[in-house]
């Protein structure tokens, strides 16, 4: 079972999230019994599953908490804020155990913590009796090498069939333990008219030769022992059956009722003298003799004509959500990507083929593949809300420890993001929030003095914007002092003294690597250490970070992320005999311009239909040996809040591009967000229009 511990690890993460959420609720309303039950259930789950998958110490730890909450829900002890706080703190220990269950340090810390728990729950008599299940005991008893002879008498309660027991299986199990001679006794079988098919009328006597201990034999009947008459007797400590002919003889006498049990016992005693001690375990498994005798009768009894009952057929199974392993989901996404690529190849072939039917089919495929792709990718989307619990907790803990009053509001958390992105976002946002509470939000006094409300607010907002998702973290704290930043940047040689920077540019200096080396963070009011790390993380996700602030009022940090990483709708274009892909979401309109117009353009601006567009001539910028001056297509694209034109030579078609990642080695080529493999096997670079335009306008 321990091989599956990874599954448990994931699940435990979810349980802990849920635990945190519930404890937050409990903090606000101690009387909420439903939540108390939930907390109990979560601890119970962690305890049980933890033990299953090798997290023994986690299991012991949560066992105590489970007991505590059992007492709370049975009203044995009252629930206090103190207990809830302790429970919230226990989460750190639980997480520690999850990471390293057998770490001495963590175990000791856990023990110390549990003592606190004990103190706060009134000391009750231990109502838990840690009973060792008979089964575990058995595992410890070694089978003795000597075969013994047992006499087992088993008379089950007639109603035994009602709880799903099948006595025959028990007899089978018994037979597995050694050589068994089974005799069925049908004394209690009534007349056919009085026969109740739901009752068991048989009893059995079994002579069993086995090396197993009595406990092992008792275990066979563990579920029915309470309901049955069971006698297990050792009639010989020696392996009597090893003596020639004895077994057959006894079988004969026993099964054919030729001798009473007493007589058989005596006989066996006589044979004991002949026994030579066995040196090895005889592990022959013999199917019980005589079982064939018992079967037909039982089958007859079992011949029930179960009438097609009038059981109400429940309505169709409606399961709202399905839990799917991430691995399976990733496989699915990979397959979808392959599917899209293959469809592109088909499309290629179809276009160069005159067949109308083929082309129509290819188009149908294209539509289908698009839908397929969309549905599959949607599966990877989970709401931002899942991250929020962690943030709430951070705000609560940090604000408390820093003596500040902060409330955390989350808006638009039903907005969905690819699950991979969500897990990558968690750290950067935690960082930003930490900074906000540390440097942004002022102390309650200071706030009151400056006319602000005592409690500061941090607002997390998530919303869609075109093909992007915007996540902003805004606080109403002290804001960032532009002057101080500029000064620091000059000190660190990040900018020239004479440089004239816009407000935006000043604040974004904070994202530069050079900035985070300051040890004394307090002299920069506003954002402190580590924003460059945040930027790096966001860059990895092909996103952008923007800082906006107003000294005295607050700071807002906006993260912009593309919605899906893997498949984009693109426009296939050609520049100087190479193919490139422009994301359709950025593309606005396509015009044709002449070479003359381009040459005469002043400061790279062209007038089209009365509107002036700045442009970048890719045939120039992407030049190598070839410089194609044939046709010029002017493609207007979005660039932040402006419109810019890109000039290319060829316009091929719309193209669903499976975005292939390009490794770190190519990272510097920021203007390409990836590459795509075309239907003919060639590679086309996928252009990130924002980054490209930024690159060429600097």
């Amino acid at each position: 079972m321990e091989d599956f511990h990874k599954l448990f690890y994931e699940e435990a993460g979810d349980l802990i999230n849920s635990l945190e959420e519930n404890l937050m609720l409990l903090e606000e309303d101690l009387s909420n019994t439903e939540v108390v039950n939930e907390v109990f259930r979560i601890m119970h789950s962690l305890k049980g599953s933890g033990a299953m998958f090798g997290y023994d110490n986690l299991s012991h730890f949560t066992h105590e908490l489970e007991t505590l909450y059992d007492k709370v829900r049975s009203k044995t002890i009252p629930l206090t804020t103190h207990i809830v706080n302790l429970t919230i703190n226990s989460i750190d220990h639980i997480n520690a155990f999850l990471k390293e269950d057998d770490n001495e340090d963590i175990i000791n810390k856990g023990k110390a913590f549990l003592q606190q728990i004990e103190l706060s729950s009134s000391k009750d008599d231990k109502t838990e009796v840690n009973e060792k299940s008979n089964l575990t005991d058995n595992d410890k008893i070694k089978p003795q090498l000597n075969k013994k002879l047992y006499l087992i008498q088993f008379e089950p309660n007639p109603d035994i069939l009602n709880d799903g027991t099948n006595p025959l299986y028990l007899l089978d199990e018994l037979s597995d333990l050694g050589d068994a001679i089974i005799k069925t006794n049908y004394k209690n079988l009534p007349q056919i008219e009085d026969l109740d098919v739901d009752k068991c009328y048989f009893k059995w006597e079994i002579i069993l030769s086995s090396t197993e201990s009595r406990t092992t034999i008792e275990d066979v009947f563990i579920f029915v022992a309470d309901d049955s008459h069971l006698e297990i007797e050792i009639i010989s400590e020696k392996d009597v059956f090893s003596v020639a002919d004895v077994e057959d003889k006894i079988k004969d006498l026993f099964l054919n009722n030729k001798q009473s049990i007493k007589g058989i016992k005596k006989l066996i005693k006589l044979y004991e003298a002949d026994v030579v001690e066995a040196e090895e375990i005889n592990d022959e498994v013999v199917v019980s003799v005589g079982k064939e005798d018992t079967l037909p009768l039982i089958q007859e009894a079992k011949q029930e004509t179960t009438p097609r009952s009038n059981v109400k057929i429940p309505e169709a199974i409606k399961i709202d959500t399905v839990k799917v392993s991430s691995k399976k989901l990733d496989s699915l996404i990979n397959l979808v990507s392959e599917f899209v690529t293959t469809q592109a190849r088909l499309h290629n072939i179809a276009s160069s083929n005159k067949s109308v039917e083929l082309n129509a089919l290819s188009e149908d495929f294209q539509l289908l593949s698009r839908q397929f792709r969309d549905v599959a990718f949607e599966m990877r989307l989970i709401p931002v809300h899942t991250m929020v619990v962690k943030f709430k907790r951070l705000v609560r803990d940090l604000s408390k420890s820093l003596g500040k009053k902060v409330q955390f509001i989350a808006e638009g958390t039903e907005t969905e993001l690819d699950k991979n992105i969500i897990s990558s976002l968690s750290d950067p946002i935690m960082h930003i929030i930490r900074n906000s509470i540390d440097h942004g939000i002022e102390s309650p006094d200071k706030r009151l003095n400056s006319g602000k409300a005592e409690t500061g607010t941090i607002k997390l907002k998530a919303e869609y914007s075109g093909a992007y998702i915007l996540i902003s973290i805004e606080d109403d704290g002290a804001g960032i002092d532009q002057e101080i930043i500029t000064k620091k940047a000059i000190e660190k040689n990040l900018i020239e003294e004479s440089a004239k920077l816009s407000k935006d540019e000043v604040y974004n200096l904070l994202l530069l690597p050079g900035f985070s080396t300051s040890k004394k963070v307090t002299d920069v009011s506003g954002r402190g250490v580590g924003m460059d790390v945040v930027k790096r993380n966001i860059d990895d996700l092909r996103g952008e970070v923007n800082i906006n602030s107003e000294k005295g009022s607050g700071t807002k940090i906006t993260i912009k992320l593309p919605l899906t990483l893997s498949i984009i709708d693109g426009l296939l274009v050609g520049v100087n005999n190479s193919k490139y892909i422009l994301p359709l979401t950025s593309v606005l309109k396509i015009y044709k311009v002449s070479n003359a117009e381009i040459e005469n353009a002043y400061k790279n601006i062209i007038d089209i239909e009365g509107i002036q567009y700045p442009f970048i001539n890719l045939t120039d910028k992407f030049a190598d040996a070839h410089k194609d001056k044939s046709v010029n297509h002017f493609i207007t694209v979005n660039y932040h809040d402006k419109i810019v034109g890109l000039i290319v030579n060829e316009l091929y078609s719309e193209y669903q591009a499976v975005l292939k990642p390009i490794d770190k080695l190519l990272k510097h080529t920021e203007m390409f967000s990836g590459a795509s493999i075309l239907g003919d096997g060639k590679v086309a670079m996928v252009i990130d229009t924002n980054k490209l335009i930024t690159h060429f306008t600097n």
Partner: protein, 155 residues
């Protein structure tokens, strides 16, 4: 005290210009014919572009240029060796253009000597050691090191 059983590793031997080099076979994945390389505008000069390898887009570099050796003309034996480069965090695949692939040799660890400390026109930190094979001097390249630095180079 000599250790009788010295570790023996396999090395892929190839030619760059007139010199001989080798790379641990564990770092080399495949050898490809020189195929169409898609250029990537504004890439560093030693990077020739990208290729499609089994559905993955791999960067291709000119190994001569990367090691600051004189550029070779493309010959009939020129090919691409796909190498697995490991950083501290992850491994990526890179194609390296070489002039000719020669053979795979089994070389014992103690047959590999330290690289020469003077002379030569190579970036010495990329050479892990040298060994002799059929009267030829072969330099063992530290693949990870070569590309660790290259990735930081900008235009």
């Amino acid at each position: 005290m000599t250790d009788n059983t010295s570790n023996i590793n396999s090395y892929l031997c190839f030619k760059l210009g007139n010199e001989f080099f080798a790379a641990d076979v564990r770092s080399t994945l495949k050898i490809l014919q020189l195929s169409e390389i898609t250029k990537v505008p504004h890439a560093p000069t030693n990077m020739k572009g990208v290729i499609n390898h089994h559905g993955n887009v791999l960067p291709v570099v000119d190994l001569n240029q990367t090691l600051e050796l004189p550029i070779s003309e493309v010959g009939s034996n020129t090919c691409i060796i796909i190498m697995s480069v490991g950083g501290e965090k992850e491994t990526i695949s890179i194609g390296a253009i070489v002039d000719e692939v020669l053979s795979v040799e089994e070389i014992a660890d103690d047959s590999i000597k330290d690289p020469p400390t003077m002379g030569g026109n190579h970036k010495l930190d990329y050479i892990k050691g040298v060994f002799e094979n059929n009267d030829l001097f072969v330099m063992v390249l530290d693949i990870d090191k070569i590309f660790e630095n290259t990735s930081l180079q900008n235009n």
